[in-house]
Symmetry: C2
Subunit: 657 residues, 2 copies
């Protein structure tokens, strides 16, 4: 079994496509981890900003979360319609393309791609960061761990959607289960204690207030909390992943994800309020995440605590996976529309869009290496991409309902209009609040991607228009090519090349460039007896031997000059250069090669001009034992071979005329 088969599994034939599809149960781990994991950092991000208010922060977290949940429900409503209207997936990109035009759709696509890319880097580095803070001995290997996790996610995703779903299902439901139990127990305890439960492990006291709540502070906290909304678009993007009825299945998955997320967010806000849990200053000694405080307060630091924390860290790591499901599908749609090379639209060995997966993996690796595995600073950039996509998608839906018309259309248009306005305002708040924290990077990356997409399409269109044909093929008397065979030594490899050259043209030039005279065989002396005479005897045209001196020790330049000269002398004919290539049995033997052949081929292709064609004739070590290819077997030889000659004798020339 090859390494590739071991890592990726057997290739899946086209016919099994339907069997690779998933239902809502697998859909949540495949497409929902990004959204669910935001429960671990969204409320905390808001609480961190409210720290300056001291204990008063707990009064604001409830309303803030309700506002975010309201926005989330509007977004869900919108994406529910999107899924029904665009069952081929693509989410914001498809909606914007159909309803708003090319430019907004590419903007949505760029925003989504940036969001997915950031998600991979941030999720992996957050997960590894949590692991390293638990096991400080791993600190020097942080970047390596990040890259290993990335490689693992890449391989799992290349193995196909079903593998991903099966593998990620248990940590996902463990995470949901642990938090669900925590909230349920907390609820029971709170009710039993008439609203004032006693914490099993008391959370650290909140600092004294140093500021009062201003509108800007609350807006900023709201913007921070909106990171909880990222990842919601993934389902609308990946509708074709679901088995039939796919629209229903996708809608159910989206509803389940949003339902769980809303429960988690509201439960968290409520328990924080009743248990008096706020954020702790991040990056300082004594830092403890909100969820950790919460589980410890409700259930104490027993086995349950460690299982829950383990599940949270795992889900943080795996939330990168949503990008691996979403990014390649966006790329596929862009490629189908010509905005990316066609390779992004091709499903690979396991029916996933391998090119997109690999490109996402490489870009994330670059991002992780550039930031040394610590990408905390990228978290603020997150929400910008997601909120841009939400806004464009809802604006597109407004247009969609307008076209639909009718009573339902009018009502839905209003909902989406309000939603678009709300996400647009939120986007402005986030962009302004986070600009100096790094959101300006978004304003570089998104336009850059946008330009790249448009440039690709323009280039492909130009090329297609230039090479397309509409009239019948031109047919005339075809002239055979002039063939040039570069020779250093006269050996079996070169003889094979000459044989092929003579089989396609009667005009063959064997060219020896004396770049390093001390190593060059004196071909003039050997040529007549070795080549000319046997060919003349057989009545065949004889290749012409040309010796070129190279006063600058370059092999390529004199040969290129000679080939161009031939092309100019025969403007109607092809000039074919035959480059013999030795095929080694082991890859590492290529280290011993001079790679002049590779350089020569490239220079001839790129600088030879339209008349020059490059022919590559391989020579394998085992060929010594073979009868030479290209020479016809005459009946006489066939007879004599049939009458009992052995292997060794086939080395002698057969079928001489």
């Amino acid at each position: 079994m090859s390494l590739r088969s071991f890592l990726l599994g057997r290739p899946i034939p086209n016919g099994e496509e339907e069997e690779q599809k998933i239902g809502p149960l697998s859909g949540i781990p495949v497409l929902g981890l990004d959204a669910l994991a935001s429960a671990a950092y969204g409320p905390e991000a808001a609480l961190t900003l409210l720290l300056v208010l001291g204990a008063a922060s707990l009064h604001y977290i409830g309303p803030l979360m309700v506002a975010i949940v309201a926005l989330l429900l509007v977004v869900q409503f919108s994406y529910r319609q999107t899924i029904a209207a665009y069952p081929d997936g693509g989410g914001s990109y498809s909606v914007a393309r159909e309803n708003l035009g090319t430019k907004p759709s590419l903007l949505a696509a760029s925003a989504l791609m940036f969001d997915y890319l950031l998600n991979v880097a941030v999720a992996i580095s957050a997960g590894v960061g949590a692991l390293v803070s638990a096991v400080p001995a791993l600190f020097p290997f942080m970047l390596l761990l990040c890259l290993a996790l990335l490689a693992l996610l890449t391989v799992v995703n290349l193995r196909g959607i079903r593998t991903t779903g099966a593998l990620f299902m248990s940590p996902t439901y463990l995470f949901v289960g642990c938090l669900g139990i925590t909230f349920a127990v907390g609820l029971v305890k709170t009710l039993a204690a008439h609203g004032h439960p006693q914490a099993v492990v008391a959370p650290p006291p909140l600092p004294a207030s140093t500021a009062t709540a201003s509108l800007w502070l609350l807006a900023h906290a709201f913007a921070n909390g909106c990171t909880a909304m990222t990842g919601v678009e993934a389902v609308s993007n990946g509708v074709p992943l679901f088995r039939e009825p796919r629209t229903r299945n996708a809608q159910r998955t989206l509803a389940a994800i949003i339902g769980i997320l809303v429960t988690l967010l509201l439960g968290e806000a409520w328990l924080c309020h009743t248990y008096g849990i706020g954020a702790t200053p991040p990056g300082r000694p004594g830092y403890q995440s909100v969820l950790s405080q919460l589980v410890a307060a409700v259930a104490g630091r027993g086995v349950f605590y460690y299982v829950s924390i383990g599940a949270i860290v795992t889900v943080l790591c795996l939330s990168a996976n949503t990008s691996f499901a979403g990014f390649p599908r966006i790329c596929r749609l862009l490629a189908l529309d010509g905005y990316l090379p066609a390779g992004f639209a091709h499903s690979g060995r396991r029916l996933v869009y391998s090119t997109g997966i690999i490109v996402l993996s490489l870009l994330s690796a670059a991002l992780l290496i550039a930031f040394g595995g610590v990408t905390d600073r990228l978290i603020p950039l997150f929400a910008v991409g997601a909120l841009s996509a939400f806004t464009l998608s809802q604006a597109g839906m407004v247009q969609h309902w307008r076209r639909m018309g009718g009573d339902k259309g009018r009502r839905y248009r209003w909902v989406n209009g309000v939603g678009a306005a709300a996400t647009a305002v939120t986007l402005c708040v986030v962009a302004v609040a986070k600009f100096t924290e790094g959101a300006w990077l978004t304003f570089i990356f998104i336009p850059l991607t946008y330009t790249l997409l448009r440039g690709t399409r323009a280039h492909q269109a130009r090329v297609a228009s230039v090479i397309s044909v509409d009239k019948p093929m031109e047919a005339g008397t075809l002239e055979p090519p002039v063939v040039v065979v570069p020779i250093k030594h006269l050996d079996q490899m070169v003889e094979k090349g000459l044989r092929f050259a003579m089989s396609i043209s009667s005009e063959v030039h064997a060219v020896q460039v004396r770049a390093h005279p001390e190593e060059c065989e004196n071909l003039e002396a050997r040529w007549p007896a070795q080549v000319e005479q046997p060919l003349r005897t057989a009545g065949q045209p004889v290749p012409k031997l040309v010796v070129l001196q190279s006063s600058y020790r370059s092999l390529v330049d004199p040969l290129l000059g000679y080939v161009r000269g031939l092309a100019a002398a025969h403007p109607n004919r092809f000039v074919a250069v035959l480059v013999p290539e030795f095929i080694e049995r082991r890859w590492y033997h290529y280290i011993l090669h001079s790679h002049t052949a590779t350089l020569l081929k490239m220079m001839l292709l790129f600088r030879g001009g339209p008349q020059v064609v490059v022919i590559n004739a391989p020579w394998y070590l085992r060929e010594r034992r073979r009868r030479p290819v290209g020479i016809a077997t005459s009946p006489r030889t066939a007879r004599s071979r049939a009458s009992g000659r052995r292997r060794g004798s086939t080395r002698s020339p057969a079928g001489l005329a």
Copy 2:
């Protein structure tokens, strides 16, 4: 002017080879910097080890240096004869090969190569280390500075020997001049003060003695001091660099280098003794190099002090250059003997052995990156390589004189025999003393290189014996190839490919692999009108259209299968696969390509078998305006073109039969 011309200068023709040679004045900076720079660290290395003796260390440094100088003179005597006997250079390798046989010569070569490689890494990191300790703000950029300096040295050396000599002459002679003046002034002051001069800046006091001098301690100090001997073999290695009379010039250069080095070593030892200067513990606060203490003691910390220290640091950095002169020449000799690929023997654009220079640069960069730019720990490894080479070279000379015979031969044999014994003993002391400090690495690297050299030769010999021919070329009735043209869309690029295919064979198969059916043109519908009919009208053979389905979405596998099937069906014929290639105008446009063509070419070459030949036909954007290549111009068309038709009209087919 291209970037290459700007960096490397115009190409130098073969005729100017003699003008590129150097005399002793340039020879010292080109080949002697490694040896001369050792004056900066050899005595210090010995003194550092003697620190435990306190002030008593000063009694031993004189005798130790005398012993090292004596060994150096024996080595010089030996290399002087080597230069005369082997004017083609190669030093220890050539001597060992001629007199001791293959194995010792490869051992000597491996030792020298390792020594040269280490020298680059250590010299650069020592120089940059000195710079960084002077300007601590540069600390984060240490590795980058190392690599920049390495790149600079690489470019300078690729520009040729004369550039190197001219550029490095002034720092070299400034270094020699500064130290010479220091020693002269010190001598005068000492004599004037009757042996007890007063230091201008007093050196730090020596620590109290904590041990007594044991034989092992002295042997260890001697071993440390022997790092002063590295770099001495470079002249014997680079004899062909000198202009005629090259033997005399090389011997003079060697004598000058050894003369200066001996003066520096003895002067340093003597001044240390009279001024009471010992080493300071390295790597601790208050560390000061011995030369820095010495210059300050003799001349104070004025302008002269800073100029001297600047010259010392510069020479430390530039001492890496000796390797750039020596390593490529060893590689060249090895390549001429078949132990390395032929490319190492080829002189490049500026008449230096570019391959060797580039390989040395890459290996050093890898070493610098692996050690993060701090290679102090590699210094002990140094002497092992150099002393192995010395020992083998002198043992070879013993054999040489034995073969020569005569009275002179007998006398010289004794000198070299004693020298070989002395360096062998020193080698053992160094190896034992330094084993745990990292010298064990030597015992991995040298055998590894040795194995690699032998493996290369064996592989090249096997290949040569397999492909060589001694009997006349086989000539028989040549059969034209079967040509396969993979097609996705029918466009001008493909039509050009079909034209070439039809010009070389009447049996052409146009193969469409439906890997991604949604993007494939329905060729069957278009083929008759577009291709078959015009060709039939013109009375030409018609390519056969073959459509292959790919149930695993691979383009390469079905095509490879089809090609192999054709090869099996026509065992005597070549199967040529024509791969059209779009030539972009900008390199970055290749990012947009799917690179399937490249993959296809590789798979066909490596796994197609001996009958398969790959044809690469380029298509340039500008070709649209050209008359199609490959179709003969009939006299009628030529006339009509001559009678005033314009460029645009040449697009129409010309010369239809």
